[in-house]
Symmetry: C2
């Protein structure tokens, strides 16, 4: 039995977004498109603030195909980072980014193919090589867990737009106030770009950032080839890049990432991502920043998939994050 949660307040809101408008005058008796608006491209955010909360709340942003469920109950039914960090005294804001899940109202049309891709993502998220699980993987092997895991996906309702998502992520901090941003995978790139839009992001903890690493103009490394295709860095003005040197940043990657070219694209893409992340952190630090890349197996934490925060050892993963926050003085009450 766990202790009850003491919640001072909780709720939800839309953050950011655009309004698009069709010219003309709306006629209520014969409604047509004329004079009508659409509010879209916002993030949906739910939050809980515990009693006696720490000063800085944590905003959690998911990755590709995912939504806030990433941080809620794990596929095998344990507490996710949402409730774990509430118990540790942090206010927690959970986002669905624009054009995903509850932020699904897009200002651009979308086409949803109902693609059958479970096995592709099982491999890309490094649970194993379908239908086999990786040896020692921190993932429960029962059918109910796999069913819940596959059902924590939801498709884009409009094309993914890095800048639309970064705008909405920055807007969350207008309501939450200064805080810590936790990102995952595709959300990693969103997080870097959100920090360039708001100083209210006081630290970033990024799990397995996948793409859209921003480098200063003139210092952009080469595109990296992998068995899953090339990974391209982005170029941003140096004065924008410098905003990423103003805060502590930590990046974690899990297990089963090969050191050399590997014919399984599900694994090989992570080889170039961790490589790019290391180059990026070196660049941040060369400009006076404070970025660290932790490859979990190198510190003795093994078996992690692409979702360390919901893996079987997620308490250990949370402890590492807590230690990071404490070491940077980010957990004061």
């Amino acid at each position: 039995m766990t202790e009850p949660l003491m919640i001072a307040n909780q709720g939800s809101f839309a953050a950011g977004g655009l309004v698009v408008r069709t010219p003309g005058t709306y006629d209520p008796a014969a409604p047509g498109p004329e004079g009508q608006t659409l509010h879209g491209d916002h993030a949906y955010v739910s939050y809980q603030i515990p009693v006696d909360a720490r000063r800085l709340p944590i905003v959690m942003l998911h990755g590709h195909l995912q939504f806030a469920k990433t941080y809620e109950t794990t596929p095998d039914g344990r507490e996710g980072f949402n409730t774990l960090f509430l118990r540790r005294g942090f206010g927690v804001y959970l986002m669905d980014q624009p054009r995903r899940g509850r932020g699904g109202q897009s200002t651009v049309p979308g086409n949803l193919p109902a693609a059958r891709e479970d096995q592709f993502w099982f491999n890309t998220f490094r649970v194993g090589i379908w239908p086999e699980y990786f040896e020692g993987v921190q993932f429960a092997r029962d059918a109910a867990t796999l069913n819940q895991y596959f059902r924590q996906s939801t498709p884009n309702t409009g094309s993914f737009d890095l800048y639309v998502s970064a705008d909405a992520t920055a807007a969350v901090f207008d309501t939450s106030g200064p805080g810590i941003l936790v990102t995952h995978s595709q959300g990693g790139g969103v997080g870097w770009h959100a920090r360039m839009k708001t100083e209210r992001i006081r630290a970033i903890v990024s799990y397995e950032p996948g793409s859209n690493f921003p480098f200063p103009e003139g210092e952009v490394p080469e595109t990296l080839p992998s068995a899953a295709g090339p990974l391209e860095p982005l170029s941003v003005p140096v004065e924008e890049f410098r905003k990423l040197t103003e805060i502590p940043i930590i990046i974690y990657y899990g297990d089963y990432i090969p050191e050399k070219w590997c014919t399984n694209p599900g694994q090989d893409q992570w080889r170039v991502r961790i490589d790019m992340a290391r180059t990026w952190a070196e660049t941040v630090n060369r400009h006076g920043g404070d970025a660290t890349v932790v490859h979990l197996p190198s510190i003795g934490v093994t078996g992690n998939t692409h979702f360390p925060f919901s893996d079987l050892n997620n308490i250990e993963i949370a402890d590492l994050m807590s230690e990071f926050l404490a070491s940077k003085g980010l957990d004061a009450r």
Copy 2:
């Protein structure tokens, strides 16, 4: 200041759903559609159970274009039915139905037009006749409220399917155990059909049910014409219909519903819906059931839109629901 919430446990899960499969064998080295599955058509459910909870939890299902936000923080920032009923000692399960919001993974393809329809829904949801608000409407008139209101919509990610949604709603009760179902608008029809699939639904509170009223074969009333189009009843076998006579049911409608044909389609459609609801309740009661239709203005509760549970007087609306639950012995601890 409100008292802290004491939460014994909370989490989220997927309920129900289908698995579709493409024949063949999956090749991890060259991923194609062969041998892949898609898990879809489930509901997404989040829940909170307060300390010392009442015996029957409440499952809340939204209406057309909506998702669980319906029952969360109101557009003007007050507590919605979710937190209000937690405070009243009920476990609360909040659903996003299949093919909507966080239940967005559909087994059938979808096409999202990014339609500009805010004004149409402002009128249909009886906030006023755009750009005017109804006199006395229980809706805050500031710009921030309207912005949040428009952003609590999200489109279907696959065509709405009454039976897919009813299956998933019934499946929620496999996890929650026996409980009370609260429905809204389009969700009303889903709720009646869910009760025909599970006896675990012990009562239904339906706000402004809009369509898909099921009548027993041979007792189906005529389709009702309105300025917004016809409202058609459904026919079901009498033995299915009888399952709706086994539980207490209460139906509420708000204000601004005309008694006679009205040229504003946004209002006129509700004239035939409350008419159909009354005929339906009479039919349920004729078969030995316990269904009541409450037109809120007739008991002195005025100004309600299509969303009574989030209107400015939502405490009063919650009190009415609490009284109903108490009167039927549904609130025991």
